[in-house]
Symmetry: C2
């Protein structure tokens, strides 16, 4: 009989978002009168229409497919040159970072890239992951057999968790034990916080020293408003020797349903074989694309290209201002209700410390029951998230203002003794 | 220092299509006068415009993304219900096959699915692969560490190769040694041949008896003209207990650049853990989709849905008739020039036996030099392909007719003693 990959059996069945959906359904079923009032600030999905430049570009591209003279079949697996070049030029060289178009790999999503990147690495690597964390980093490592089982508290043995909390400004400290692969995500999901140039420099220097590879998830880069904060890990000297960067059009261009993202794999990156022979990673990633992928839909690549036009860039800026405006409104209200609030300035997420004595899920249930707002319990992102909750700013302005008003009505019991 | 996946280093650098491109470039550089005459019958890429129904559906879907009321962000990772249901109904239930929409997983390509499916299987499986074969099956197993090295003749140790040749009508015989995973592809790429109901029944019965899983690639199903030939492995009783089917919109709807495909993973399929515990595979594949994929672009899913409308179905039929018409013209010419010709009746590929004494690459070079036609050398698909070549029928009618005329001019030397 065929064998299955039993590492999958280690995964927890009750994944965060299904559990949220279950509780929301249970609430609306027992409180039919309140069901209509529910506003979701949970999942990180955009709500505003697609930029006009992207829409127009897609219509044009589709019309090319109507005629045999302009029809396009298989494109290059790694992406069309027009898009790879636009990305290399506008996202990197314009900022003084030397990235070549051949180092840009266009894909259908950062979630896919973050999981697929493990294909080119050996199973011997010791893997460091921030806590709290985007669950995909953890789960894909579990599936690849890089961990033991859940230790009962939601953490998998075999991973090196890097705590991120109020005490370290939510930026992971360099671990005492040696690691080979390090997932960093800034602006951070779920905490909405950023890493400074100095903090990223420390990570790059560490990675260069020990030969580790940083997997840098910059999906929320467009939300950075503070001019001192790096938009790319490659703004740090030496980073092209130790970092792979993941970017997406989901959260800037609103492409969550259109699907386009990219990975930057510098040609200068190397890793070793079991015998210690050093080899470049670029050919491996290139081979993975050629063998296990067939490129992103042509009209979608044209839409992504259009985001780099003058019109596209100004339309993106408007979207970012809209969501960050929501974030400010929501953060102010949460602060006004007496809570400790982080993030939301350079990111569309607000990370909130629940009052002492409340668990993340208790807060979830209370906020749903009392003001019919859906948030995300911080404990769903890892042990360090316990006692926090995440509020997403992806919403209409009207909803954000309504939620803000409701947040101000929250009353927190004095549970000082409970903890 | 980080470790790389050194199984990638076992892959042959000179992959088939890059080598073809290199030889074509070398020829056109030294024969500038003939460069314009080159016609490609190599790669299996469609050439005709996209069906009007798909075009219209994409335009409509894009216009939904312009307004916040109809905007769609993240869709279900496994595909929208409208498409999963259309597939289950039109491709299966209409043919009397009980497949539920939850068993259909919509993806961006069969190439991806054929590679990704290995994620949910254990590394202990013994893997059977047809020879000649679509190289992706082999290469993804090499990358996953399921093979040894290339044995020097183009075959990897550790795989069970199933020879398909003139003697067995290009349908693999059931192996003497036990195997756990079996790749079958019918209508076949590269040979263009099909498997009969009896032959597929023998495979299904074998798989059920030993508990093996058949990975059935039916990407060319739409080209079947013989009413006796099954379109789906699930037409064979018992197959939902032993087979996963891969389908694509690339070769019927011409979606090679638009990107949409699907996998059918019946809920009744099981595999075992190392300890012999039997578990269903559906939850694993579902979890893979949820964790490592984010769904196909919304407008693309609407385009695929439109292929199942009355208009879409009749437009597909026209495309199929066009390509099969080319195949007939090309096959007749090849036969007319004295060659032994297979396939091309229920598939867009023609598989040709070169005259005795010619290797596949010798034929490639001769045909390119003498009549400026690019074919694919059979040896690129495996050891059993040596001495054969593949001609693709994906072309304009004009090109097909021109190539046919040129084929008739070919003169083959008598090399009867050479072999």
């Amino acid at each position: 009989m065929a064998y299955l990959n039993e590492h999958y059996l280690k995964l927890k069945a009750g994944y965060l978002f299904p559990e949220i959906a279950r509780r929301v359904n249970a609430f609306t079923e027992t409180h039919a009168d309140l069901a209509k009032k529910v506003i979701r600030c949970g999942i990180g999905d955009v709500t505003e229409p697609l930029p006009g430049a992207a829409i127009a570009a897609m219509h044009r591209a589709i019309d090319e497919l109507v005629r045999r003279e302009t029809f396009r079949g298989y494109g290059p697996e790694q992406g069309y040159e027009f898009l790879r070049e636009a990305i290399a030029e506008k996202d990197y060289r314009r900022r003084g970072i030397a990235i070549d178009k051949d180092e840009v790999f266009v894909s259908d999503g950062s979630k896919c890239d973050c999981g697929n990147i493990l294909d080119i690495f050996g199973h011997q690597n010791r893997i460091a992951i921030m806590d709290p964390v985007y669950p995909v980093y953890v789960d894909t490592n579990v599936m690849a057999g890089h961990t033991g089982v859940d230790d009962g508290s939601g953490a998998y043995t075999g991973l090196v968790y890097l705590p991120c909390n109020k005490e370290n400004d939510f930026v992971a400290a360099i671990p005492a034990e040696p690691v080979n692969l390090i997932y960093l995500c800034y602006p951070n999901n779920p905490t909405g916080t950023v890493a400074t140039r100095e903090q990223l420099t420390a990570w790059v220097n560490y990675a260069l020293r020990v030969g580790a590879i940083i997997l840098f998830d910059a999906a929320y880069e467009a939300y950075i408003t503070d001019p001192a904060i790096p938009h790319s890990i490659y703004e740090i000297p030496g980073a092209t020797g130790c970092a792979i960067e993941f970017r997406s059009f989901s959260k800037n261009g609103g492409f969550t349903g259109v699907r386009c993202a990219f990975t930057v794999m510098p040609k200068s990156l190397s890793a070793q074989t079991a015998c210690g022979e050093k080899k470049p990673l670029h050919p491996l990633w290139n081979r993975r694309f050629a063998t296990k992928f067939n490129g992103v839909s042509y009209p979608v690549q044209r839409a992504a290209e259009a985001l780099y036009t003058e019109a596209g860039e100004s339309q993106i800026l408007k979207l970012i201002h809209h969501y960050l405006g929501n974030a400010r409104i929501l953060a102010d209200a949460l602060r006004g209700s007496g809570l400790d609030v982080f993030g939301g300035i350079n990111a569309p997420y607000i990370w909130v410390k629940a009052p002492r004595g409340y668990s993340s899920w208790e807060v979830f249930d209370k906020i749903l029951a009392e003001i019919q707002v859906v948030i995300t319990p911080g404990s769903g992102f890892g042990k360090q998230g316990e006692g926090y909750f995440r509020v997403s700013a992806f919403n209409s302005r009207e909803n954000a203002e309504e939620v803000a008003e409701r947040f101000l009505k929250l009353v927190w019991a004095d549970r000082a003794d409970a903890n």
